[in-house]
């Protein structure tokens, strides 16, 4: 009983909602009305085959990526592999680590190829591909716990920044994590790169062999998980401050390394209400980058002044959550 893909406008008449199996996208394009409709038509045509393309190579995409691995053929799958390749010799990673960002990126590309747009985003469950032309910008809100969506930070991305992809990973999310971060949000040049990096950094925020952390082989929860017998995090007891600091520092070290390699722009790491920010480096080589996170995120457990309710709702919508429930 295969359900057909769903393609519809949301009640606001602005946003497009696409859904097929585990893929759920919220899309909005801004610009000339004719351009928007051309872009939406292109999206609809492109979307219907995405899931089948991915599933045709699923065993390969669920296998560990290595230098000598067989390369996948599909357009989305190639982006996935390219996104995880920089990590494949250093850690266990499968192309699935970048699936959400790669789908978002592919769909966004089909829109921008069809029509000139002022700005557009494709939000795939919090992994977001964005397009910004001219002097456009987007405000983004960050959520630490999907089961209790409240913002731990907000930021603005402008066309002048190199950032075109945002992704969040953590053990409370829909995908499994080997680490204990509640949320690691990464900004990168594209969504697939952000997705893979967020996974790797979230895995690094960890306290190995800690008795207060419940870990279960991924296969026990989800029999066909790409993580197989690797033990994924299912519970983290409240930790004392020094342990939170230790775990966050480990994640931050990895994030810094990835930034030095040019894989990410900046990152925010969140564990039990504590946040570490890796700001954008003001290197002259990047195109007049602004301090994305550093400027916009105001968040300590007690220091974060919440935005007003309508603002939060607008931002949660941008993250694909139209109501305050998980």
């Amino acid at each position: 009983m295969r359900e057909p893909a769903l393609i519809r406008m949301l009640a606001d008449g602005r946003r497009l909602h696409l859904h097929d199996g585990p893929i759920d996208l919220i899309i909005e394009a801004s610009g000339d009305p004719q351009a928007i409709s051309a872009a939406y038509e292109a999206v609809a045509r492109r979307f219907v085959s995405i899931l089948d393309e991915l599933c045709s190579e699923l065993p390969l995409l669920r296998a560990r990526a290595q230098e000598n691995s067989e390369r996948p053929r599909g357009a989305v799958a190639r982006r996935m592999f390219a996104a995880v390749e920089p990590y494949c010799e250093d850690c266990f990673i499968t192309p699935m680590a970048a699936v959400a960002g790669s789908v978002a990126e592919t769909i966004l590309a089909s829109m921008t190829a069809a029509a000139p747009l002022d700005r557009a985003y494709v939000n795939n469950g919090g992994d977001i591909a964005i397009h910004l032309a001219g002097h456009q910008s987007y405000k983004i809100g960050m959520v630490e716990r999907p089961d209790r969506p409240s913002l731990f930070g907000a930021l603005e991305i402008t066309a002048a920044d190199s950032v075109r992809g945002i992704a969040t990973s953590g053990w409370r999310g829909r995908s499994f994590s080997l680490g204990i971060a509640d949320a690691v949000t990464v900004l990168a040049d594209c969504a697939s790169a952000a997705d893979a990096a967020a996974t790797v950094i979230a895995n690094a925020v960890d306290l190995p062999n800690h008795s207060g952390i419940t870990r279960v082989p991924a296969r026990e929860i989800s029999p066909d998980s790409d993580l197989g017998d690797l033990r994924v995090t299912r519970g983290v007891e409240p930790l004392p401050q020094f342990e939170i600091d230790t775990a966050l520092e480990k994640g931050l070290r990895v994030a810094t390394l990835l930034q030095e390699k040019g894989l990410i722009n900046s990152a925010a790491l969140c564990l039990q209400k504590c946040v570490r920010i890796l700001p954008t480096t003001p290197t002259p080589s990047t195109r007049s980058c602004r301090d994305g996170f550093l400027k916009c995120v105001v968040c300590t457990p007690d220091g974060f002044t919440g935005p007003s309710v309508p603002e939060i709702q607008a931002q949660l919508e941008l993250l694909g959550r139209t109501n305050p429930h998980a």
Binding site: C55, I312, H325
Partner: protein, 492 residues
């Protein structure tokens, strides 16, 4: 690909990913889950199905194009709750869903919205006789004050948690922890609370409370004195004296008014502690986890020696706790010393009956909030008319389909038992404030009269067609059907 699965694993064929889903888990999409070995669709916006038989709460998702019409025919059997509906707060805009349906020939309208409640809290009733802490003392979660101990009720200790002063009147951390505590309690999750100069409790709505690490199983049938009153007649003639051991009031049959009325002969029994009135003793021992909430493990320790002036050899004595969990039967020997014997057949029933009459001890959570300002604006252009309509019982208020008790007086201040609401019905915003579902149901003609947003009323069938964001649940067995017309009053 995996080769061996636990027996209840299902393979989902809703999309080409073909997930294997273990019992109690969801697939990669989070939309299909394995519930009791069945593939079930689980989605955000909750509809309540009025099922004829009360079975599993989740209804399998079966709507195909073919049988869709049938669903609309049964439209009056479905009620749209506000859970996941969203809110238009703080705009002066119509509520997210204003749904009409015809029920028993009457056109009804339900205004469905989620409310953001800064003025809200939880009344927590903990069935235990244990002293949790002095009245008015602070109740804390994660060290932050989130409420206080309020007036105890019969057999239960009461905590009042939340409220605007803890949510927004204290430090940011106090507000955040209060909000999380309320949210978890309302969503049925376990919360640990400590009371200043008192106990630490772990509570979850509808579950037995855990006090200082010890799970409460049963409420006592009454205090020791009340137990004597209830069972005196059943004991009369079968035993010469009964002591019901209780940390609050230990009762003695032969001295108690109930015993006197039956003509029970005085036994001269002497009990430790402070005598209150005849047959009623305070402080027979220290509080503890032994007999009847005392620290007693051997009940004879509260008895002083029997005197020859009153007592007699072979005198039959039953000692029992207020829950019937502990009991012992003695007969006096020639030297008037109690000797433990097997409980006679004739007394077994009465001890069993004490046990039967002890209800399970629970922690229960009532959410209490005030539907104010702009929430009412989502219902009508003239908010005070909604208040008036609710007061006159023309409008029924429900929370996620559960009946709400409306406190008399001004405003719409309501209470609801969170266990009668669907799971995870509550959310929050970082203001901090709780988000709770609220539905107002009234006759369509009354809705027009009170200045309702009649242009925004949509037939139920239209709402049901947006099925991809809906979740259907079976209505809670004890809840009256929210759409039933000619409502006399909300359940209270």
């Amino acid at each position: 690909m995996p080769d061996v699965f636990p027996p209840d694993t299902v393979r989902c064929d809703a999309c080409p990913v073909l997930c294997y889903i273990k019992r109690g888990h969801a697939g990669a999409c989070d939309r299909y889950a394995n519930v009791e070995g069945q593939l079930v669709r689980v989605d955000p916006h909750i509809l309540l199905d009025r099922a004829k038989s009360q079975g599993t709460p989740l209804v399998p998702f079966l709507e195909r194009e073919g049988d869709w019409d049938g669903k609309i025919m049964k439209g009056q059997e479905t009620f749209v709750t506000a859970i996941g509906a969203g809110t238009t707060y703080p705009d002066y805009k119509p509520a997210p869903f204003i749904v009409s349906s015809e029920v028993e020939g009457v056109d009804m309208v339900t205004v469905v919205t989620e409310g953001i409640f800064s003025y809200c809290g939880v009344k927590l009733k903990i069935d235990t006789d244990r002293h949790l802490g002095p009245e008015r003392n602070l109740v804390r979660a994660e060290g932050e004050p989130v409420g206080h101990v309020t007036t105890a009720e019969y057999g239960s200790q009461m905590l009042s948690l939340g409220g605007v002063h803890h949510l927004t009147g204290g430090s940011k951390s106090e507000g955040r922890v209060t909000c999380e505590t309320l949210l978890d309690l309302c969503n049925g999750k376990e919360v640990e609370l400590t009371i200043d100069d008192g106990a630490s409790v772990r509570v979850a709505a509808g579950k037995p409370p855990v006090v200082n690490g010890q799970r409460e199983e049963r409420m006592r049938v009454g205090c020791g004195s009340a137990t004597i009153g209830m069972f005196a007649k059943q004991w009369f003639g079968k035993v010469d004296d009964v002591v019901v051991v209780d940390d609050h009031i230990t009762g003695v049959l032969s001295e108690h008014q109930a015993g006197k009325l039956l003509g029970v002969r005085a036994t001269g029994i002497a009990i430790q502690g402070r005598r209150s009135t005849p047959g009623r003793y305070f402080q027979v021992a220290e509080p503890g986890t032994g007999w009847g909430g005392t620290n007693i493990s051997d009940p004879l320790t509260i008895l002083k020696p029997f005197k020859a002036k009153f007592a007699w050899p072979h005198l039959r004595l039953l000692m029992v706790s207020t829950t019937g969990e502990h009991f012992a039967y003695y007969e006096l020997d020639e030297a008037l010393r109690p000797v433990e014997k097997e409980l006679p057949e004739a007394l077994i029933e009465s001890v069993g009956r004490i046990r039967e009459n002890c209800e399970p001890a629970l922690a229960t959570v009532l959410f209490m909030g005030g539907a104010g300002g702009s929430l009412r604006a989502g219902v009508t252009e003239n908010p005070v008319k909604l208040t008036d309509s609710v007061k006159r019982k023309l409008t029924r208020v429900t929370c996620g389909g559960a009946p709400a008790y409306i406190w008399p007086g001004g405003g719409i201040t309501f209470m609801v038992d969170v266990t009668r609401m669907p799971e995870n019905a509550f959310g929050y915003v970082p203001t901090p404030a709780l988000v709770a579902p609220i539905e107002f149901t009234l006759k369509k003609e009354d809705y027009a009269v009170l200045g309702g947003h009649v242009d925004y009323v949509r037939p139920l069938g239209d709402v049901l067609k947006e099925k991809e964001r809906q979740r259907q649940l079976t209505s809670h067995a004890q809840n009256p059907w929210p759409l039933k017309p000619h409502v006399e009053s909300s359940e209270s």
